[in-house]
Every structure is written in C-alpha cells, then in structure tokens.
Amino acid sequence: MKRRPASVIFATGARYILPLMLLFAFFILLRGHNEPGGGFIGGLVVACGFALFALAYSVADARQILRVDPIQLIGWGLLLALLSGLLSLLLGLPFMTGLWPDFAIPAIGKVGTPTIFDVAVFLVVIGVVLNVVFSLAES
C-alpha cells in the first residue's frame, strides 16, 4: 500500500469485510433461481465491497486487488450470456430455452443454462458498477 490509509480502523475493517461480502454475494448468486437473490444483487454486493476498499485505501489499490479491468468483466459477461442462450439453439430448441441436467452437484444443486446466465449478469453488474465508481472516484 503506497498511500497511508485515511483511518486505520476503517482500513482494517474494510480488509476483513471484503472477503465476507464476496462469500455472501456468491451465496446470493447461487440461491437466486428459486428464492430471493440472483446475479444482479450479488453483483451489487461485490461492487459495494470493492467500492468500500477503494474508499478505505485508494482506487489504484482496489484496481490492483480486482486484477482485471472492469470493462473486461462487462465483455466476458455479455459473451457468457450469449453462449448460455446459444446452447439451446444447438439442440433445435428456441433461443434461450432453459436446459437442466438430470444430475445435481452436491451443496449447489442443478447447474443449467439459467445459472450460467445468472453468472453472466453477475459479471456485467460488477463491471458496470465498478467502472462507474472507479471513474467517479478518480476524477
């Protein structure tokens, strides 16, 4: 960390609360199909965690900890959403038909194309919100 953080208590708290937020966002994302939750809310929680880290340290540190450019996340998310829709076209079904496998992964449940679409929404929301927050904080 190049710059001294504004408040030691806040900086330490942000470092401990960020993994907690990421874990909870993942939980919300996986629960999304049948119960309240989903990719959008999960992405917002992740973005809030990184925004908190950017406030506690600096935007450069938050970018470094994210490792990828937020704009790249938008692109990968949109590509993943397109792929999840195209998968049903290969089987002769209408575009974006939900496909579910017969087996279920323990502790997660069935992973079908709607799950992939939710992950895509998750990535796009993280990318858009973090792009806005980082650009506003840098200006």
Partner: protein
C-alpha cells in the same frame, strides 16, 4: 407452532414494531430539522439501524426467515453511505 413462539410473535408485532416505529419517526424529525449537515448524516445512519431492527422484528413476527438475509445485507452495506458522507465532509472543510 408452540405456545412460546406464538407469544414471541405477538410480542414482536404489538410491542417491538410500534416502539421501533416511534424511534423511526423521531429520527426522521432529526433528519428533517437537523441544524448541521453532520446531524443529518448521523440521523441517516440511525435510520438504517432502525430499519434493520424492523426487518428482523418482522421476520420473527411473521415467521419469514428469508428476511434475515436482507437485514444482513443492509447491515453490511449501510455504513458505506455514512463513510461516503464522512469522506465528503472531511474534504469540504
């Protein structure tokens, strides 16, 4: 549903929720009237704390365990706004 749970639910609905609502109204008055900007920021923070209490009391009173997660999210994210306002106040002075 046993007797104890029913008493707890009635207690939440008829005692805790009205008390929290009174607190909410008093905090709202401070938010509207607050002489300085810092008063309003503190009132906003307190408003979110009371909102967490109301969500939890509602979750217990009406037996909806899903609402506890909402309270968890609000608790984790609400102090972000306070931090943001604090940052703004510090930069303005």
């Amino acid at each position: 549903m046993n007797d104890y749970q029913e008493v707890l639910q009635l207690f939440m609905i008829y005692v805790i929720l009205p008390l929290l609502t009174i607190g909410l109204l008093l905090t709202l008055w401070r938010l509207v009237r607050g002489p300085t900007f810092a008063d309003r920021v503190v009132a906003l923070d307190k408003l979110s704390v009371i909102a967490i209490g109301i969500i939890l009391a509602y979750a217990i009173g009406l037996d909806r365990p899903v609402y506890v997660d909402i309270a968890l999210i609000v608790a984790m994210l609400s102090f972000l706004t306070t931090v943001g306002f604090g940052y703004y106040i510090e930069r303005r002075v």
